[in-house]
C-alpha cells in the first residue's frame, strides 16, 4: 500500500505537550513540512521564544537557540549575520512578538534581515494563564481584562501582518489560519512562499498564523475553531499583504 501521510522528517517522534485543539501543533507540522520540502533540515537554525512554544527543541529535529521573551528576532539576526548560509526562522507568540518584542520584530523587518518570522496569534498569553495580549480582541475577557478589552482603557488589537508591510525592508507579509482544511491548505502555500523568499535571499518574510487557545478561551476545540472563523478573521483578514519578491 502506498503511504500517503507520515510524520515530517524534521519533527521528532514525540507527542506534543499542547492542549487538545491547540493550533500550535498543526503550525509546527506545517513548518516541519516546509523544512522537509526544501530539504532544509541540515541547514536550519531556529530562534525559539518563550510561551507555549518554548519546547520547540523537543519537537523540531533542527538546531534551536532559546531567546529571552520577545527577543527572538534579534537572536535570529545575530545567527543569520554570522551564518548567512543557514535557513533561520523565529517562532513567536503574540505576547512575544507584539508586546516585548515589537521593536526587535519591526527593526529586523526594516533592516530586511533575510530571516522568516512565524507569528502565532491566539489573542492571549497562553503559557502564563490567559492574560491580555496586544492582539486580544475588543470585548474579549481575559484574566487581566476581566471586563472585556476596551480601547479607552487597553487600546486596540494590533494587526502585525499589516504593520509589517509598512517597512521598506519587508519582502513578504501574510496572514493565514488553520481552522479549516481549506485555510490550512492555503496556509501551507503561503508558508512555502515565505520560505522561498529566504531561500532565494530576497529578504525578510513574515507569516502570521491565527491560532486557537481552547484552554484560555475556555472553549471546546470545535468552538475555538469557530471563533477563529467568526471573530478573528473579520478583524484579522487573511491574505498576502506584501509580496515584493
Amino acid at each position: 500500500m502506498k503511504q500517503v501521510f507520515k510524520r515530517p522528517k524534521s519533527l521528532k517522534d514525540v507527542p506534543f505537550h499542547f492542549c487538545p485543539g491547540c493550533h500550535h501543533g498543526v503550525i509546527h507540522r506545517l513548518v516541519a513540512e516546509c523544512i522537509d520540502l526544501y530539504d532544509l533540515q541540515e541547514k536550519t537554525i531556529c530562534a525559539a521564544s518563550v510561551g507555549c512554544s518554548v519546547f520547540m527543541y523537543d519537537y523540531f529535529d533542527v538546531d534551536v537557540c532559546e531567546s529571552p521573551h520577545g527577543r527572538a528576532a534579534a537572536v535570529a539576526t545575530g545567527i543569520k549575520r554570522a551564518r548567512p548560509e543557514n535557513f533561520v526562522f523565529t517562532y513567536q507568540g503574540d505576547g512575544d512578538l507584539a508586546a516585548l518584542g515589537i521593536a526587535e520584530g519591526l527593526h529586523a523587518a526594516n533592516r530586511g534581515e533575510n530571516i522568516t518570522i512565524i507569528f502565532v496569534n491566539n489573542t492571549v498569553y497562553g503559557m502564563t494563564g490567559g492574560q491580555m495580549a496586544p492582539t486580544t480582541m475588543l470585548g474579549q475577557t481575559t484574566t487581566t481584562s476581566p471586563f472585556g478589552r476596551d480601547f479607552h482603557r487597553e487600546g486596540y488589537p494590533i494587526r502585525m501582518a499589516e504593520l509589517m508591510t509598512m517597512l521598506g525592508g519587508t519582502t513578504f507579509s501574510a496572514r493565514v489560519a488553520v481552522n479549516t482544511p481549506k485555510n490550512l491548505m492555503q496556509a501551507k502555500k503561503v508558508l512555502k512562499k515565505a520560505f522561498e523568499v529566504q531561500i532565494q535571499n530576497q529578504g525578510f518574510s513574515f507569516v502570521e498564523f491565527l491560532s486557537s487557545c481552547p484552554t484560555n478561551w475556555k472553549m471546546t476545540p470545535e468552538k475555538a475553531n469557530q471563533r477563529v472563523q467568526d471573530e478573528m478573521i473579520p478583524y484579522f483578514p487573511l491574505g498576502i499583504y506584501k509580496d515584493s519578491e
Binding site: D63, V75, A82, A103
Partner: protein, 350 residues
C-alpha cells in the same frame, strides 16, 4: 626583528582594535557616551575583514544579537555604558545560562539613573554579582591603561571561548577617553573546540542551546555544573602589586583610580611612608587568595574606589581577620587628583 607597532590612540579605539586583533567579526551596539568611539571604529573597519557591524535599535536588541552570533560559535562583541549595560543584563543572564560566549564592554559612567558621563566605579556590584537574574557569574576584567584596554579585550575573547561564558571588560569614561601610546601586539590564535555550536544539523544530531530546565532536579544539576565552571575560572585570577614588599600600608584599587593613586603612592614614598598597591585585574574571580596571603604579612589596607563602597566588601572578605581595612570612596561626579588621594593616604597611615 621588525619594530613593534606602537600608536598613540584613545582608550575606546584601543578596545575596538583589541577586538579586531582577536578576530572578532561581529559587533552589535547602540550609541551611548562615553564609549562611542568603539562602535564608530568598528563600523569603519569590520566590513573590510568580512565582518558585520550593526547599530541595533536598542541595547536589548544588541545583546540578543550577540547571543545569536555567539550561539553559532562566532567571535562577537557588544559595548555600552552603565544604563545600557543595565538593559543588557537579561541577555547576559541568558547567555550565562545557555553557556554562550560573547564579550561585553562597559565603559562605565556615573549613575544612578541618567547620572552623568564622568568616570565612576559605581557598576562594580552590577558587574561582579551577576547583575541580571539568577545564580551566575561572568569573568570581569578591569584594565587601568589604554594598553591594557587592548590586551585585556583580546584576552576576553579567549576566556569567553574557553569557558563558554560571557566576559565583561569593565573600564570607565577616563579609560575610554584618554590617549596613550599602545603596542599593538598581534594576536596569537588559540584554538578552542566548539562541539556545541549551532550551525545546522548536517551530519550530526540536532542541537539546542537553552537555559530552561523544568524537570525536578535538572536545573539544580545544571546550576551545579555552572558553579563548577565558575570555580575553575579561579585559574584566571590576575592582579598586580606595586611596592608591597616592605609596605606598612597597602592601597587596594582597580581601574582608573588605581592609575591615579599610583602617583599618590609615589608622593608618599618620597616622604618616607611605606605605601604599596594591590590592584585586582580580574574582579571576578576576585584575587582573594593572593590578597589573603598578603594580609598575613601586612595588616593594614586602604581601599580607594570611585563609589561609596563596593569592592571594599570583597577586600574585607579576603583579608586576614586581624587586618585593618580603611576605605575612601569618591561618589560619582568628580575625579580625585593624586594630591587629594595623597592627603587621604596621610590620614590613615600610621
Amino acid at each position: 626583528m621588525s619594530k613593534p607597532n606602537i600608536e598613540l590612540i584613545n582608550g575606546n579605539e584601543s578596545i575596538a582594535r583589541g577586538a579586531m586583533a582577536a578576530n572578532c567579526k561581529y559587533y552589535f551596539g547602540y550609541p551611548i557616551t562615553p564609549q562611542n568611539e568603539i562602535p564608530e571604529y568598528l563600523s569603519r573597519h569590520l566590513p573590510a575583514v568580512g565582518g558585520t557591524f550593526i547599530q541595533a535599535e536598542s541595547e536589548i536588541a544588541s545583546i540578543n544579537m550577540l547571543l545569536g552570533a555567539g550561539a553559532t560559535g562566532a567571535r562577537a562583541m557588544t559595548s555600552s555604558s552603565s544604563p545600557g549595560i543595565s538593559l543588557k543584563q537579561e541577555g547576559i543572564s541568558y547567555m550565562a545560562g545557555s553557556e554562550i560566549p560573547g564579550v561585553i564592554v562597559n565603559m562605565s559612567r556615573s549613575g544612578p539613573g541618567l547620572g552623568g558621563i564622568s568616570p565612576s566605579q559605581g557598576d562594580y556590584f552590577q558587574a561582579t554579582r551577576g547583575g541580571g537574574h539568577g545564580d551566575y557569574r561572568v569573568i570581569v576584567l578591569a584594565p587601568f591603561s589604554v594598553q591594557e584596554n587592548y590586551d585585556l579585550t583580546m584576552k576576553a575573547f579567549d576566556l569567553s571561548d574557553k569557558y563558554r561564558n560571557p566576559v565583561l571588560v569593565l573600564g570607565d569614561a577616563l579609560l575610554g577617553q584618554m590617549k596613550e601610546p599602545v603596542t599593538l601586539h598581534p594576536y596569537e590564535p588559540r584554538e578552542f573546540d566548539k562541539p556545541w555550536t549551532l550551525t545546522g544539523a548536517k551530519g550530526r544530531k540536532s542541537r539546542f542551546l537553552k537555559s530552561l530546565y523544568l524537570n525536578e532536579g535538572d536545573l539544580t544539576k545544571h546550576n551545579w555544573k555552572l558553579f563548577q565552571k565558575y570555580q575553575q575560572m579561579k585559574a584566571e585570577i590576575e592582579y598586580q602589586t606595586y611596592l608591597v614588599e616592605d609596605a606598612d600600608l597597602v592601597v587596594v584599587s582597580f581601574g582608573s583610580v588605581a592609575r591615579i593613586i599610583k602617583s599618590s603612592i609615589n608622593m608618599a614614598r618620597e616622604q618616607g611612608m611605606k605605601v604599596g598597591l594591590f590592584r585586582p585585574i580580574t574582579l571576578y574571580p576576585y584575587p582573594e587568595e593572593p590578597l589573603r596571603q598578603l594580609s598575613t604579612k601586612i595588616q593594614h589596607f586602604f581601599v580607594v574606589e570611585l563609589n561609596t563602597g563596593q569592592m571594599v566588601e570583597d577586600v574585607k572578605l579576603s583579608v586576614d581577620k586581624g587586618a585593618q581595612v580603611d576605605f575612601y570612596g569618591r561618589p560619582p561626579g568628580s575625579i580625585p587628583t593624586p594630591n587629594e588621594l595623597f592627603e587621604e593616604i596621610k590620614k590613615v597611615y600610621r
